[in-house]
């Protein structure tokens, strides 16, 4: 049996089953959906054990050259505590693991986040309007500065949005809408890209198995 062809056929039939939902809910869609959920869970368990747990923890706890490294029991127990969430009486232990994760993550990313996503961005907004030289740069720089100021005014709630504040906030919300529109456009492109990828698979991998070459 040619396993590659079998794989292609399974992929194609399951894709068609999933797309059949666009017509209406049906048993083929439900079968494919349940199969996907079950397969994903099973695959991830095995994948995580083989590619995460064994190389990152077990191989350190019991190295190939012999001997045991007891220090690696600590992350082992912390991992075990997370699983104990399913045992109501012992679920409290998972808080120790979670607090370690949250504490480390928050401590590490606090300054980095502030530097990367706040200070550097503020710094990037403080620009000379003529920076760049050409008229396009002038317009771009004016839009950046105006957009930031008006956007911030829109999120300033300590003063009623009336008069000049209201008009500035309106410019801010307009710029936000343009940003959301651009973001939505990219989202549409992403979804169509996935459809294109799957269609390429059906047309150029599945159909040739039936002797149909486009």
């Amino acid at each position: 049996m040619n396993w590659t062809v079998l794989g292609i056929w399974l992929g194609a039939l399951l894709s068609l089953s999933l797309y059949s939902f666009l017509y209406r809910d049906n048993p083929f869609y439900k079968f494919a959906e349940h199969l996907f959920v079950g397969m994903s869970a099973g695959y991830w368990v095995i994948y995580t054990i083989k590619n995460v747990l064994i190389p990152n923890w077990w191989d350190n706890l019991v190295p190939a050259e012999g001997g045991m490294q007891p220090i690696w029991l600590i992350p082992g127990f912390l991992g075990l505590f997370m699983i104990l969430r399913v045992v109501p009486k012992l679920s409290g232990l998972s808080r120790m693991s979670l607090s370690l994760i949250v504490g480390t993550g928050a401590g590490l990313s606090m300054t980095a986040m502030l530097q990367t996503n706040a200070l550097a961005q503020v710094n990037g907004t403080i620009i000379a309007l003529g920076q760049g030289g050409g008229w396009f740069d002038w317009v771009s720089n004016i839009i950046i500065v105006t957009g930031v100021v008006c956007g911030l005014v829109y999120f300033f709630f300590s003063k009623a949005h009336t008069g000049i504040v209201g008009r500035t906030a309106n410019v801010g919300i307009t710029i936000l809408m343009v940003a959301f529109g651009a973001s939505f456009g990219y989202t549409v492109m992403a979804r169509i890209s996935l459809l294109i990828g799957q269609t390429q698979f059906m047309l150029f991998e599945w159909l040739p198995t039936m002797g149909i070459h486009l």
């Binding site: 980095a112 990037g124 169509i192 294109i196 990828g197």
Partner: protein, 285 residues
């Protein structure tokens, strides 16, 4: 006329699905091709940054995605690897996403075999490690303690490609192909801003707008956004290369353009129908 327009606004969604399917299937079936103009932009910046690297430089390539975003990111991976290997740049690859390892391996092996490059001499895949940002910080001080062996279990100390590579600062550039978190933001935050290493990247179209601020502040040197970014890079890499293998992103762009056109037509029709209905209601009042 108004009744027709109102009906148009209530068109069965299944007809729209069929139109969208045809808009994608027909251009792909007839191998329709549209020109991809390459001008100034994040894709060109990314290409220029790689092009400016001298031969023998070392680049860290991180495959931070999984099969769900393959149509967008795998063509980028192949085109980038092709560009790097053609320029004889050494690639050290890794992944912040577990499934990224095997997808990256596919791209590396395919291009390496076609160009006659050698594993462990010209490239290596270190594999996946959990930790995201924490992992990147550790790589900043000592890579070989984090990855003592590569994806296949071979000691990295014995590999020529890893000679002189001990920390992130030893790379001329880091490139992350990212489908989410951890990915580009983690590399910018923990490697780019912290160790002052040039960061380039590729991402899904959904996440591209959130990375544009990094480009305008210079925190990123270039960005490939979605299928368009992949097609741009494929086109630039193929320029001047005889018998270069065709990628999958460039043919997909014709279908993408037709699908966008259909969506725009439906949006216009929907708005006309809405306005016609509103006008009719006004008359009744």
């Amino acid at each position: 006329m108004a009744t027709f327009l109102e009906k148009l606004g209530n068109i069965d969604r299944r007809i729209i699905f069929i139109m969208m399917a045809l808009a994608v299937i027909i251009p792909l079936s007839i191998r329709m091709s549209l020109p991809i103009p390459i001008g100034e932009g994040p894709s060109k910046d990314m290409y220029d940054a790689v092009e400016a690297l001298p031969s023998g430089s070392r680049v860290l390539l991180s495959f931070d995605y999984d099969p769900s975003t393959m149509p967008e990111l795998q063509p980028m991976a192949i085109a980038l690897v092709q560009h790097l290997m053609t320029k004889d740049i050494k690639i050290v690859s890794m992944a912040l996403w577990p499934m990224g390892v095997s997808l990256g391996n596919e791209a590396l092996i395919a291009v390496s075999d076609s160009l006659g490059r050698e594993e462990y001499v010209d490239w290596v895949n270190l594999g996946y490690k959990t930790g995201g940002g924490v992992l990147i910080v550790r790589l900043g001080s000592d890579i070989k303690s984090v990855f003592p062996v590569d994806y296949d279990g071979n000691p990295v100390d014995d590999m020529p490609v890893m000679d002189g590579v001990n920390k992130l600062g030893d790379f001329e550039m880091i490139i992350s192909l990212s489908a989410g978190d951890p990915g580009v933001p983690a590399w910018v935050m923990m490697a780019g801003d912290r160790y002052n290493i040039p960061i380039g990247g590729g991402c899904t179209a959904v996440s591209a707008p959130q990375f544009y601020p990094y480009l305008s502040t210079g925190q990123m040197i270039g960005l490939l956004g979605g299928l368009k970014g992949a097609a741009d890079y494929e086109t630039m890499v193929r320029i001047g290369v005889e018998n270069a293998p065709a990628g999958t992103a460039t043919p997909g762009m014709a279908a993408q353009s037709v699908a966008h056109l259909v969506i725009m037509i439906f949006i216009i029709l929907g708005n006309i129908s809405y306005l016609a209905g509103k006008k009719k209601k006004g008359r009744v009042k």
